[in-house]
């Protein structure tokens, strides 16, 4: 936690760690250099689902403690079934709504128009290819997307630090191409 700017060392063959580090770098570019506002609605949705599920479990635990088992049967049935329903909703939410999106950023363009940028990434198991997809949605609801598929080695130097310049260049390139395409149409 916290805003430390010291370079972090990661093992680029640890897929998850490398992915997280590059994701963070891209978020920084979108919300920093490109001056978009991060929108937290998507991740907050997931967090509230998780919190609700944990809350239900805690409630069941407390109720069962206060009114030992045979009495607490009805409450337990309700809690257990709603917990597993919440878990399936959470799975559906992460697979169909989030789809690996790690940052949603809103950008104001001109008069009352906002564009929404969504960046999602995935890495196959035991693979060094970082797949990035950026989707831009304008206020009319049209969307355009672009993607890059490059090895971790492109973004991470030999010391294990993410090279912010390279990430920034790549994202700015995508950003510009998606933005200009819009003008052509």
């Amino acid at each position: 936690m916290g805003e430390t700017n010291e370079p972090v060392k990661i093992n680029k063959w640890d897929g998850a760690a490398a992915k997280n580090a590059i994701d963070d770098a891209i978020r920084e570019v979108l919300t920093g250099d490109l001056k978009c506002n991060e929108s937290f609605a998507l991740i907050d949705g997931r967090l509230s689902l998780c919190a609700l599920a944990v809350g239900v479990a805690l409630y069941a635990l407390l109720w069962d403690y206060l009114y030992p088992f045979p009495q607490s049967r009805l409450v337990l049935i309700i809690c257990v079934s709603s917990y597993f329903i919440l878990m399936s909703i959470l799975t559906l939410y992460t697979t169909f709504k989030e789809k690996g999106i790690f940052v949603v950023a809103k950008e104001k363009v001109g008069n009352n128009n906002t564009r929404v940028w969504e960046a999602s990434s995935y890495v196959k198991k035991h693979d060094d290819k970082y797949n990035l997809v950026i989707v831009m949605r304008d206020s009319t609801g049209k969307s355009r997307e672009a993607s890059i598929n490059k090895s971790f080695a492109n973004y991470i130097d030999t010391n294990g630090a993410v090279v912010q310049n390279i990430v920034s260049n790549e994202i700015t390139k995508l950003y510009n191409s998606l933005s200009s395409e819009k003008k052509e149409k």
């Binding site: 916290g2 919190a51 479990a57 809690c79 597993f84």
Partner: protein
């Protein structure tokens, strides 16, 4: 070394950290809800128990895992293996029903004995208690899995080991991202 372990945590933003804590909470809750779900399905307050003593040999050995049910409509019968609680004892006992008296209104009182013990259980019951009743029963043995419970026994015999294992798991889950 320890510093690098917490690197992941230091790099997280507020929401990532909350998610990390919540996903740890969900691992614990899932286990808890499965347990509570089993309680509801089997009607027993402790649907799975570990045999701790050799008093039921050769039927059950130390370390066997027992699966219990406790449906109120099923009557207790002589020869069945019941798990019961005795006042003042933390750990329930697994023994066989030896004698049973049933009244017309359905209430029962019964006496138990371990297969491997030479005397019945009156000495184990609370002071002055001669019979067990339905409210003492945790469940009746319906199935067993040999040896699996040894892990639990070792964990309970070496509590420090247990806490070390649990602490390591907790730290790993909390510190590692996704």
């Amino acid at each position: 070394m320890l510093d690098s372990v917490f690197d992941d945590v230091k790099r997280m933003n507020k929401r990532q950290f909350i998610y990390q804590v919540l996903s740890f909470g969900m691992i614990v809750s899932s286990a808890l809800m499965i347990w509570k779900g089993l309680m509801v399905v089997t009607g027993s307050e402790s649907p799975i128990v570990v045999v701790l003593s050799g008093s039921m040999e050769p039927a059950f050995h130390r370390g066997d895992l027992l699966f219990l049910t406790n449906y109120p409509e099923e009557p207790v019968r002589v020869g069945e293996i019941v798990v019961f609680k005795v006042e003042g004892r933390d750990i329930p006992i697994v023994h066989r029903v030896l004698k049973l008296h049933e009244k017309n209104n359905g209430t029962v009182k019964f006496l138990t004995k371990g297969d491997n013990n030479s005397v019945d259980d009156r000495g184990l019951y609370a002071q002055g208690q001669l019979w067990l009743t339905k409210k003492d029963v945790v469940g009746r043995a319906r199935g067993f899995l040999p040896y699996v419970g040894m892990v639990t026994i070792y964990m309970n015999e070496y509590p420090k080991f247990k806490f070390a294992v649990l602490a390591c798991l907790a730290v790993y889950v909390l510190v590692h991202r996704e």
